[in-house]
Amino acid sequence: MVGILLLTGLNSCQVVKEFQKNRLNDAEMVLGNRKVEKTELSFQSYREGASGANAGKSGGGCGCN
């Protein structure tokens, strides 16, 4: 069901030309973590059992479980 919804959603994607990407290219529209969030992600990976799928560390490299 989710797959069908996603496929339908992605099928309706529009082609956006480079000159139309001024909003998408805004620094705060970046699809990932911003640099200022770096330490927040680090403490969350120590204090919480789950990690990964956020373009950050997903296990290893620190003295946490």
Partner: protein, 397 residues
């Protein structure tokens, strides 16, 4: 009239001069490595709580951490006009921890009370804009008193023909080494080093896959899937576990863990002033822990150069199969832990940030491109709470 005409001609010439480009012969110049940007990120973190793992799930979790990192990004174009990016990053954390001091409670303040972590890394990537491809790799190191880690990664990405979608794959390996520093009463006394009793190693392997898609001029989304495997000594040697029979042991966890997080992001630019950044993640691992994470951040553009961003993040996890609080573990179990970071809880993280990016630079310094300040308060259902203040200063070449 003559005066007006001369003024108009003068203005026109001035405008032409301002917007014209100097002609340089310079394929050579373009290929030289130059500084693209420098990022300085600093944070101060403070936490407190009543469930320290070092003391078996009771006791102060007071901890402070001062973190600084400096990243220098360099770029050049190669002969085929492909963009090469080099990034050198160095991080330095200094922390103090009340619970680490309880590894040996007889001391007033032990060496473990404070520590410094240093973590340099270097990475390289090459982007071919015509083909819509990018590949790269990196190396990292992290070292502190009882822990060292060496990491390596490779990544590649490919855009669709219309450049609306992009697939990225990243493989990472961490080879970690931990000194087995046991609580004072559980040391065997045979090692020549009064603190260290040998070492344990743990290796982590991960494959991160993502698909990002531009939906329209205002919306872009991404899907993320990680597959992670960890092997080796995955416990922490200084974490005590008290059993119902009154005995105390060192935390013991399986030597293998498989983690599967799956995530989704959607960013939407509404009108001319609002950006909604949303994130959801579901996580499951082989220790029985499952978790949901959801967050929403709204950037409100007070002007094109200043924005304010309140945010909220909700997190919930179930406990691992091997967790029990202080003095509730029954003897005879193979694996056991009283680390409340692996217990069942919910957490809320909220706060706000401000971002300045004036056209003439911060304090009128053209290259100081942007400054971000951010504060967050974290509260967990099992007494832990913390505050974090971060700032990011960007220099752009």
């Amino acid at each position: 009239m003559k005066k007006i005409c001369l003024t108009v001609i003068g203005l026109y010439i001035g405008l032409l001069a301002a917007f014209s480009q100097t002609v340089q012969d310079s394929s050579y110049q373009k290929r030289r490595l130059k500084i693209e940007e420098i990022n300085l990120v600093s944070s101060y973190y403070h936490q407190n709580g009543e469930h320290a793992a070092v003391t078996g799930g009771i006791g102060s979790q007071k901890l402070t951490d001062l973190s600084n990192s400096l990243e220098v990004k360099l770029i050049r174009l190669d002969r085929q006009q492909r963009k090469q990016t080099w990034s050198v990053d160095i991080g330095l954390d200094h922390y103090t921890s009340a619970s680490s001091d309880k590894i040996d409670p007889k001391t007033v303040t032990s060496a473990s009370y404070a520590d410094t972590r240093i973590y340099p890394s270097v990475s390289f990537s090459r982007e071919n804009e015509k083909k819509g491809t990018e590949w790269g790799g990196g190396l990292s190191y992290s070292g502190e008193y009882d822990y060292t880690s060496i990491g390596a990664n490779l990544h590649g990405s490919k855009k669709t023909a219309n450049k609306m979608g992009e697939f990225t794959a990243k493989g990472q390996v961490y080879m970690d080494r931990i000194s087995l520093i046991y609580p004072i009463e559980l040391r065997d006394g045979n090692s020549p080093d009064p603190l260290k009793r040998g070492g344990g190693s743990r290796n982590s392997y991960s494959l991160a896959l993502s698909w990002s898609q531009i939906v329209n001029q205002r919306l872009q989304v991404s899907f993320l899937l990680d597959l992670i495997q960890q092997q080796g000594y995955l416990s922490l040697p200084f974490n005590r576990v008290y059993f119902t029979d009154g005995t105390v042991h060192v935390e013991r966890l399986p030597d293998s863990r498989i983690k599967v997080p799956i995530g989704f992001r959607a960013n939407y630019f509404a009108g001319d002033r609002f950006i909604f950044r949303t994130y959801y993640r579901y996580y499951k691992d082989s220790w029985g822990l499952s978790a949901h994470t959801a967050s929403l951040e709204t950037s409100i553009k007070l002007s094109p150069f200043y924005s304010f961003s309140p945010f909220y993040r909700y997190y919930h996890q179930t406990a691992i199969d091997y967790f029990a609080p202080y003095m509730t573990h029954a003897p005879g179990k193979e694996f056991y832990s009283s680390n409340f970071d692996l217990s069942q809880f919910s957490s809320h993280f909220f706060g706000g940030g401000i971002r300045f990016s004036p056209p003439r630079g911060i304090l009128g310094i053209q290259h100081l491109n942007s400054l971000e300040l951010r504060y967050g308060h974290y509260t967990r259902s099992n007494s832990l709470h913390s505050n974090i203040v971060s700032f990011h200063l960007k220099w752009k070449g």
